[in-house]
Amino acid sequence: MQQDKLIEELQSGNEKAFSRIYELYSQSTYGIIFGIIKDASVSEEVLQDVFIKIWNNASSYNPEKGRFFTWVLNIARNASIDKIRSKDFKNKKLNLKSDIFVDILESKSNFFGSIDAIGLQKYIDILGPTCRKLIDLLFFQGFTQKETSEELQMPLGTVKTKNRVCIDKLRAKVL
């Protein structure tokens, strides 16, 4: 309920509400963007653009159509995908080794050593390869259920139920 009020205030142009929204959503949004772009400085740029869009287009968010988080997620995905398709990004010829977010988790834990490693490791351990792929496509890449079913050659219904199992596993550990 408090969340609804906050979003209403954001929509009416309240800067404080915007700051609060930033606090609540910036870190996860940043992660989504980085999960697609895989370049820290470009992701930072896109994150800024995304929040500028959130501020400017807040009034177009309609709670009946879905969660605010989902709305933000869509903006972030679209901006990131636009970015990696753009000319100046391609010109950088970034050599991306990692394909999916779990690789980022792994490489991060390798690089940063002990600091985050324990926190990160818990995700890696619990998610099997199917879960990783499912979450990558559905959550990060924004695939539809049908696209995911085609990509993974998995029946449509299985995508739904299997993904549910994956998220359940995460919830058990994270929350």
């Binding site: 870190q27 879905g66 924004g142």
Partner: protein, 264 residues
């Protein structure tokens, strides 16, 4: 609805991902507003995903808010001033180009629609011509058949002259005794009024006994106006009367249009 089943179906996860259609999402929102347990579930899924993605973020995003606010401040005020001063020619060219491009697209679209319409009209015309040709062929065959009938020397031709109600009317009966068929040519009869039909009678003269040999249905549609009727009678004369639709048991003599006696 079984709410637990609904929750465990996995639809709520897809809802948070944004991978449902707009309609499906609206439905989930409705259910979520109705059932607190669904709302809690969605909030937990959301939190899990937020946690997961936040872990992937390369660094702390906290400080970036200042940069964003600076940009927001700029975009509302100074950018307007700046754009006024700077040379806008490339922008205008860009706009002009896009307007032209749109115009071009529009014209092409229009032309396309036009051509499509013409093509469709031509196709319809072609179909009509085809059916006309088919009809003509059918008519020709029919006429050929009728011609052989009329030329046949075994056929008795009986001219039926117009009577009091219709002095200008005229008809001809061709009686083929071998096949018990009488062909009635009624090209020179007026079209019957609505709800009325011509009925053909075979007559014996002494005493006068009429026998119906048929009703000329579909008078308007039949192009050559020649009707083949079965006639097993020993006819001495043929008459045509106008009768109410469906025909009558005995002829309405006041409406006798044509009459002719078989010459033997």
């Amino acid at each position: 609805m079984d709410i637990n089943e609904y929750i465990s179906s996995g639809i709520l996860e897809l809802y948070v991902y944004g991978s449902l259609t707009e309609e499906e999402s609206r439905e989930v929102t409705r259910i979520l507003n109705q059932f607190p347990e669904v709302r809690t579930e969605v909030e937990e899924i959301e939190e899990t995903l937020q946690n997961l993605s936040a872990t992937i973020a390369p660094s702390n995003a906290e400080d970036l808010i200042h940069a964003i606010k600076r940009k927001l401040g700029n975009s509302s005020k100074t950018i307007v001033m700046e754009t006024r001063k700077t040379n806008n020619l490339p922008m205008y060219i860009g706009w002009a180009a896009s307007v032209l491009f749109l115009l071009g697209l529009f014209l092409m679209f229009n032309k396309n629609q036009e051509l499509r319409g013409e093509l469709q009209a031509l196709q319809v015309e072609k179909a009509q011509m085809e059916s006309q040709i088919a009809n003509a062929r059918l008519d020709a065959e029919k006429s050929k058949g009728l011609l052989t009938v009329i030329r046949d020397k075994n056929i008795i031709k009986v001219p039926l002259a117009g009577q009091a109600v219709a002095p200008d009317a005229y008809a001809t009966a061709y009686w083929d005794k071998a096949t018990n068929t009488t062909y009635i040519d009624v090209k020179d009869l007026p079209e019957p009024p609505r709800g009325m039909v011509y009925q053909v009678w075979s007559l014996k003269l002494e005493p006068l006994t009429p026998t119906s040999i048929g009703i000329l249905d579909n008078f308007e549609e039949d192009e050559n106006k020649i009707f083949a009727l079965e006639n097993t009678n020993l006819s001495e004369a043929f008459g045509i009367t106008l009768e109410p639709a469906g025909g009558s048991k005995s002829p309405t003599m006041e409406q006798l249009y044509t009459l002719g006696v078989v010459s033997s």
